[in-house]
C-alpha cells in the first residue's frame, strides 16, 4: 500500500510521517509515537477511551484516519500535565476518587478538558452531557462528575 506524507503537532512537538491511507490516528499515536495514554476499547467510537483533542475539539481517535489529521494540533493525556505540574482535572480526579481501573481515565480527562474549555462553569447536567460519549464501567460516573464540578467551581485543594 502506498504511503503519504503528513505533519502533525502532538503535545506541542512537531512530527513528520509517511503513512498508509488506512492508518488511524489512534494507531499513529500509540504505535508510532508510543503515546499509550489513549486506549482503544471498541474501535468504533462507542466507548470514548481513545478521546484526544484535535485542534481543540474532542474526537474518538479510532474514527479519525491519520491523514485526516494532517496539519492538525493534537493534545493527548500525556500533554495535559506532568507529574510535577498536574492539570487541575488530573489533580481533581485523584482527590475525588474518580479513578478506579483507569482504562477510561485518559479519555474522560480529555472530554472533561474539552467541556471546560468551551463551558468553564457547566452545571452538573451539562457535565453529564459532556461525558455521555465516554463509558466507565467501574465508577458509576459520580466521582468523575464531582471532580469536574470541583475544578469548574474552583474548589480544588491546593
Amino acid at each position: 500500500m502506498p504511503k503519504y506524507p503528513m505533519e502533525l503537532t502532538v503535545n506541542g512537538e512537531k512530527y513528520s510521517f509517511e503513512v498508509e491511507a488506512d492508518l488511524r490516528l489512534v494507531d499513529l499515536l500509540r504505535n508510532h509515537l508510543h503515546l499509550l495514554g489513549a486506549k482503544e476499547g471498541c474501535g468504533k467510537g462507542e466507548c470514548g477511551a481513545c478521546t484526544v483533542l484535535l485542534d481543540g475539539k474532542s474526537v474518538a481517535s479510532c474514527l479519525v484516519l491519520a491523514l485526516q489529521a494532517n496539519g492538525a494540533d493534537i493534545l493527548t493525556v500525556e500533554g495535559l500535565g506532568g507529574e510535577e505540574a498536574l492539570h487541575p482535572l488530573q489533580q481533581a480526579f485523584i482527590q475525588y476518587g474518580a479513578v478506579q481501573c483507569g482504562f477510561c481515565t485518559p479519555g474522560m480527562l480529555m472530554s472533561a478538558k474539552f467541556l471546560l474549555d468551551n463551558n468553564p462553569r457547566p452545571s452538573r447536567e451539562e457535565i453529564r452531557e459532556g461525558l455521555a460519549g465516554n463509558l466507565c464501567r467501574c465508577t458509576g460516573y459520580a466521582k468523575i462528575i464531582d471532580a469536574i464540578e470541583a475544578v469548574a467551581e474552583g474548589r480544588l485543594e491546593r
Binding site: G41, V77, I94, Q100, C101, R137
Partner: protein
Amino acid sequence: MKQGYIGKRIKRVDALEKVLGKPLYAVDLHMEGMLHLKVLRTPHPHALIKKIDVSKARQLPGVVQVITAADVPWLKTYGLIFKDQEVLVKEKSRYMGDRLAVVAAVEEKIARQALKLIEVEYEPLEVLSDPLRAMEAEAPRIHESGQVQFDHPYNKGNVLAIDHLLKGDVEKGFAQADHIFENVFSTQCVDHVAMEPEAGMAVYDPDTDCYTLWAPCQWTHDIQTDVSRALGIRVEQLKIIQPGAIGGAFGRREDISVHIILPLMAKLTGRPVKWVMTRQESMIMQTKRTPFTFRLKTGVKKDGAITAWQSEVIGDTGAYASTGASIVHQAMYMSTGPYEVPNVKGISYTVYTNNTYTGAMRGFGATEAAFAYERQMDCIARDMGWDPAEFRLKNAYRIGSRTANNQVLTTSVGAVDTILTARKHFGHKGVPAAPHKKRGAGMATIMFGCGYGEGFPDHSIAGAQVTDEGRVLINSAAADVGQGVKTILVQIAADVLNIPPDCIDLAVSDTASTKNAGSSSATRQTIFSGNAVKWAAENLLGKIFHRANLELGRAYPELSLLDGDIILHGTTRQMSLGELAKIARAKGEPLEAEGCYFPRTDIDYRDGQGDLVYVAYTFNTQYIEVEVDTETGQVDVIRIVAAPDVGTAINPVGVEGQSEGGAAMGLGMALMEEQVFHQGITVNADLATYLVPTALDVPPVETIIVESGDACGPFGAKGIGEPAMIPTAPAILNAIEDAVGIRLYDLPATPERVLAALKAKDREAENE
C-alpha cells in the same frame, strides 16, 4: 478499633500514574520482533468440522505460522472446575466463540487478512439455545462425555449438575401458612463490558524451556495451574506477570482467554507474540452472566412470618461449564434472601446450551437470586397490604438466625440496620415532571456470602519486609482489577506499622515471586488478603521490635515506631528502619515476615446444609426512585440511596466507589443490558447495540455506610464489591410497580416491555 490509617479517605496508590496515562495495560505491551496473533472462530454455534484448509493462509506474505488442532494434538482440555474446553476444537463447535485456527503474522493487519483465507467445511447440527429444550432426553448431546451422572430423569439431556437444598420440612411449612405465593422470574445474559478487551503477550526461552506470560488474571496462580496442565508443562515452567494495570474484570478475568494460546504460539514461532481481541470478539467469546429462571413458592402466615420457601432454579451455563454449576447452586442457596425461613426446599439444574458460555460475573448467582427473591418479597408485601420495609424487617436475619444453609449467624448481621438506614435517608418520592410521567419508590435488601465458602479451600498468603532504604515492601498476588485492593493493603500495613502510606511499596505481582492470594472475586480480597497482610505486618512489627531491642538495649514500651523510625523514649536516640534492616540482614535475620489467612468452611452437598458455609455475609439495602414515562415506557432512575453493611470501611472512598459503580451496573442490568442470542448467535456484539449506562443514565447515588465492626476481616471489615450491585435491579423493578402498577417478572425492563405491560394493564382495566 479504628487506628491511624483505617477508615481514612486515603488517595488511591495508583491514581497519580493513571491520571498521567502511564500504567502499561496488557494492550500497551510491546517487544522488539513480536508477532501478532488472530484467531479464527466458528460461525456455527453447533456444527461438525468436516475439513479445515489453511494452506492459502500459510502462503500469505508476512504470515509466520498457522495452526489448527491437528498441529497440536498433545494439548489437554482446560476449564475452571470441569476441564471441558478444547484449546482448538477438533471435531465440533459448541458455541460461536470456539477456536479453529491461530495465525501469527508480522502485522495484525496481515493476521486478519490470513483468517479470511482459511477454508472450513461444516455440517451444522441442531442448535440448542433454549435450556428447556437442551434438558429434554432426546436433545442432541453438546458434550458426549465428561458429564456428571445423576439419578434423575433430566440427566439424559444436557444437564451438567443438579443440586439440592433441604432445611426443615417444606410441606409442613406450607401447611402452616395462611397464604401461598407462586411466581416465576427470569434474568438475562449480560456482558461484563470491562473497558479493556482481552489481551496479552508471551515469550518462550528455549534454553530453560520456560514461558513468560503478561496477561490480566483475577487469580494468577490458578490460571498458571490450568494453563500449565493444558500445555503439558510443570507449573514452574510458566511465569505469569500481572500487567501494570488491569482495565476492569467483574468476573470475566477469572476464566482463561488469551492465556494458553499466547505461550503456545511463543514456543511454536520462537518469537514474542502479542494478542489483542476486538470488542466484538470479546463479547462473543468470553464468559457471560448466567441467564436464570426461578420458580418460587412462598408460604406466609397472617402475621407476616414466612413459614416455607421452595425454589426451582434453572441456569444456562452455555457451551462450557466454567464455574456455572457453582453459580447456579449458589443462586439456589441464596434464593430465600436475608430472611429467616424455617422450612426450605430447593433444586437447581445447570444446563449446557450452544449459547456463549457463562461464568463469574459480579454476584455469582446471588445477583440473579436477589432479583427473584426481592421481587417475590415485594409482590407478597403488596398483596398482603404490608409496607415493603416492615415486611422485610419482620423476617430479616438477626444475630442467631439460621440461614437457608442452616448456618447460625453469630456476628456482623447488618440486614436490619441497612433497611432502617436506607429508609431514613431516602425520605419520600418527588413529584413527576409531567402528567404522563409517574414516580415510584422501590427498595431491596440483599445478602452475599464473602469468600468461596462451601468447604472450598480458600486462602491468601502475603509477605512484608523492610528494605535497606527503610521502606516497607508488601508482596501479594491480590489482583487490583480497578477495585482498589492495593490501596486497602497499603492502608492496613501503614496502620499496623504506624508508617505513612507513601513509605510503602507493592511488589510487582508475578507467580514466581508471590504466593497464592486466591482470586479477586467472591468479594474476598479485603477479608482474605487484608487479613494476610495484617498478620504479615504484625509479624514484621514483632521482628522490628525484637531486633531493636537487641540493638538498642531497650524493650517495648520504651521503644516505639513512628513514621519509619525507631524512637527511644526519654532520650534523643533513634534509629531509622533502614539502618535496622541493614543490621538485621547482616546478622542473618532479615526484617521479613509472612501472613496467611486460611479459614475452614463446610457444606454437605446432599442437602446444602453446613455449620460455617461462608466466613461472613455482607448486607445491602437500596431505596430507588424512578420516573416512568407512560407514553414511551422509558424508565428514568431519579436517585439511589444505598446502605451497605461492610463491617468496617477500611477506605470509605473505596466503599463509595464500589457502591456507585455497582449501582450503575445494576441499573444497566435492570433496564437495558442483554446479550441477545438467535439460535446461539450473538446479534448485538458491539456497544452501539448492547447498551451500558452512560453518565446520562446514572442518577446520584447516596451511600451511607453501615458499620457493625465485628466481621472476620481486618479491623472488623468484610467485602463490598459484588453486594454493591445486587439490590439495584430488584429495587428498580419494585419502584416501577410502585409507579404504574405493572408487575414485571423478567429482566431487563426495556421500554418495549414496560409499554407492553402498561397496555396489558389498560386492557385488563377496560375488561373489568
